[in-house]
């Protein structure tokens, strides 16, 4: 009768799920492959739409995870083998730091392994890694964060702040050539970056977008706020970024070429810095994890839920649940909600008093 659970992944989803189960009085093993927990959220500066500091939100939870009597935290650890069934999963975990292998026995599992981002080098027309000062969203997040490489300053490679920044939407998303799905969070973080850039520098900010997707709580209001703060919105999917200057004022700049589909006409917008809103992708080892736990992946590569509407947290395998971006791209608020839902699924099983076995 095994009332222990396993949470795989120590980002905000895994942290929240582990805390909820632990608070209910049950033991949780939290496995994280990096040396520290916090996941991608620990890399962020301020988060939309409230502009809270990510670390202010995260560190109390991280501390609680580290000190909670019901949570056994294993960092620098990876799942190596899984067998068994609901109520009695046998999981072998390798500690990479000490190269030790231990086996644990748990009744249920939550996968909260998070996401990777699309590598935009394949879109040669955008010049990523070919020209300086073109960054992915995650790279820019890191730059904005006080714990990042520039101590939170927004700087060009030459050490100066930019006078103009272009934020390009839908890089690898909504695109049959790469990922057909929408990555959901980029319109919001693009607005967020616009705010952060205008707060920290005097730069003109341009957003080249196809649609503005602001559906969550406080999101449309955040969009209105940014319109008032003076972000320049150009509706068009960027054709290319070039360094080939045609005029004096374009010299030394990155020129973003895009059709302005609203005013009509092809624009050349010279900027100092380009930020690419890259698609959220499944983790590179998503297939390996899916195979280890015998769960399915959807066509888009993310872990498959049991039913898109009625069972979004369960998987076809009893006792294995998914939460956060490993299921599909989503923001922090929705991730926390899913993490709490996953914990709730397990607590339902436990409260049936049969110790995590079915029937």
């Amino acid at each position: 009768m095994n009332t222990n659970s396993l949470v795989v992944g120590g980002g905000i989803a895994g942290i929240q799920a582990a805390l909820d189960i632990a608070e209910a009085g049950y033991k949780v093993i939290l496995v994280e492959r990096e040396p520290q927990i916090g996941g991608h959220m620990a890399e962020f500066d301020k988060v939309f739409p409230t502009l809270d500091s990510a670390l202010d939100l995260l560190t109390p939870k991280m501390t609680r995870v580290g000190s909670h009597p019901n949570i056994e935290l294993m960092t620098s650890s990876e799942i190596e083998e899984v067998s068994g069934h609901i109520g009695d999963f046998k999981v072998k975990i390798r500690n990479k730091a000490r190269n030790g292998l231990i086996e644990v026995s748990v009744g249920a599992v939550i996968l909260a392994t998070g996401y990777d981002v699309f590598d935009p080098s394949v879109i040669t027309l955008y010049g990523y890694k070919e020209y300086d000062n073109i960054f992915t969203s995650l790279e820019f997040e890191r730059m904005c964060s006080a714990t990042g490489p520039t101590g939170g300053q927004i700087l060009l490679k030459n050490g100066k702040p930019p006078e103009s920044v272009a934020i390009i939407h839908c890089v690898g998303s909504r695109d049959k050539n790469y990922h057909e799905y929408c990555s959901r969070v980029c319109c919001m973080y693009a607005l967020n970056y616009s705010h952060l850039i205008m707060e920290k520098t005097n730069a003109q900010v341009y957003q080249m977008y196809i649609d503005m997707r602001c559906v969550g709580e406080g999101h449309e209001e955040f969009y209105n706020r940014l319109s008032e703060e003076g972000v320049n919105l150009i509706r068009g999917k960027v054709a290319k970024v070039t360094d080939r200057a045609l005029t004096e004022e374009e010299k030394g700049k990155l020129i973003v070429c895009v059709e302005d589909t609203l005013a009509g006409g092809i624009l050349r917008v010279p900027v100092d810095m380009v930020i690419l809103c890259v698609a959220i992708e499944p983790r590179a080892d998503a297939e390996k994890i899916a195979n280890l736990f015998s769960i399915n992946r959807r066509k888009d590569g993310f872990f498959m839920e049991r039913h898109a509407m009625l069972e979004p947290i369960a998987t076809p395998v009893d006792g294995i649940f998914i939460a956060g971006c490993c299921h599909s791209p989503k923001d922090i608020a929705d991730t926390v909600a899913q993490a709490k839902a996953a914990a709730s699924e397990i607590l339902i099983l436990l409260s049936q008093g049969k110790g995590l076995s079915k029937g």
Binding site: T124, L125, C170, R174, D175, K176, N177, I210, D211, R235, G236, K237, V238, A239, K240, T242, R244, C257, V258, E259, D260, T261, G264, G265, I266
Partner: protein, 378 residues
């Protein structure tokens, strides 16, 4: 105000074979070389008007679908994978059926078409030195107009390395297809197939990207092969003259999707000892030279503006593998066809030769035909 006819999109979808799915993002127009040079052409708005069924707009502005270079760069960058070139071809077919197309500006093209489809040009010959004819050398019309000696040298080369190679001089139908004359095109396709079958051949080799692209669409009952792949397989002719210079390599738009063509040409150039400058827009992302889609019929100056934009990425002399592209670039930059490098001992002087007049080209085409016919008789 435009009346909206919801049937238009279904008609165009059926004609083109495209699933017309569009989020109006503007990637097509942003990337389109023609749209960048001429603001009156906008692929995104063409799709928009087809979807909403603005039939009258196309009747009043038939030059819009006829301006497209049919280069398919839009398909390469479209997040829904839409091929707007195919939509423009479908609109042309529609305009022809309604009696609006082809347009007055197409007169010279019509004359050219009439000539290359006439007995003054067409010719079918088996391999004089072989009993069986397994394959055909199909030079197309542009290469013949450019250089009859190269056409003959290629035939000699093929017959030497691959005995049993006949030759067919004929229009592949591209001119009819591009004008939107669909039934005429189907007739020409049938006739070409007849000629190939008459010789008993199972394979047709061409070095012309336009012929390859056009014939491939008709799903012929014979194999279609690119000439440059054949030369890679059978060896470079020993007589080629090399000076080891650097060329900017232009990939013609009609073989945009044919990786084999891209690779074979690069292999040949490297084997011959040339250095290649790869332009930013190459292979699947290549730019049209400007002549594509018979756009020249409507606005010759625009063709050269497109060509200049294309050439802005090139720092050296141009090498290409389409006679049409070579012709367009030759007006402003030394340009060679890869077959010049392989078969023309005078290519270094010829590279500065500008394109010939329509009369000279026609003369070349007629002369080659007579030459081949009399060779056969002797």
């Amino acid at each position: 105000m435009n009346k909206l006819d919801s049937k238009l999109k279904d008609e165009i979808a059926a004609r083109s074979g495209e699933v017309i799915s569009c989020i109006q993002c503007g990637a097509c127009t942003g990337n389109c070389l023609l749209a960048n040079v001429d603001a009156s052409f906008n692929p995104r708005t063409v799709v928009h008007m087809v979807l909403l069924g603005m039939r009258d707009y196309f009747r009043e502005h038939p030059e819009v679908p006829y301006s497209c270079n049919i280069c398919e760069l839009c398909k390469g960058v479209c997040p829904r994978g839409l091929n707007i070139s195919n939509l423009c071809l479908a609109l042309r077919e529609q305009l022809v059926e309604e009696g609006i197309g082809p347009l007055p500006g197409h007169k010279i093209i019509q004359d050219t078409k009439q000539f290359v489809q006439s007995p003054s040009f067409t010719l079918t010959l088996p391999d004089p030195d072989a009993a069986e004819c397994e394959r055909i050398w199909f030079p197309g019309c542009s290469l013949v107009a450019y250089s009859p000696p190269i056409v003959i040298k290629v035939w000699d080369y093929l017959r030497e390395r691959l005995p049993g190679t006949g030759i067919i001089l004929r229009c592949c139908g591209a001119l009819s297809h591009s004008l939107g004359e669909e039934s005429q095109f189907q007739g020409m396709t049938r006739e070409l197939e007849e000629q190939v079958n008459k010789l008993g051949a199972s394979e047709l080799i061409t070095g012309c990207p336009e012929c390859y692209y056009t014939i491939k669409q008709t799903t012929p009952n014979y194999q279609l092969k690119g000439l440059y792949e054949v030369i890679v397989e059978n060896g470079i002719p020993k007589e080629y003259k090399n000076n080891g210079q650097t060329f900017s390599l232009h990939d013609p738009c009609k073989t945009r999707w044919e990786k084999e063509w891209h690779e074979s040409v690069r292999t040949l150039l490297t084997l011959m000892g040339y250095k290649i400058e790869e332009m930013k827009h190459s292979r699947e992302l290549t730019y049209c030279c400007g002549q594509g889609g018979l756009s020249i019929g409507l606005n010759p100056f625009r063709v050269f503006n497109v060509a200049s934009e294309r050439l802005a990425e090139a720092h050296f002399d141009i090498v290409s593998y389409c006679a049409g592209c070579r012709e367009t670039f030759s007006m402003s930059r030394p340009s060679v066809h890869i077959l010049d490098l392989l078969f023309n001992p005078n290519w270094e002087t010829d590279k500065t030769k500008k394109t010939d007049s329509v009369e000279v080209r026609k003369k070349n085409q007629a002369a080659l035909r007579s030459q081949l016919e009399s060779r056969q008789k002797s």
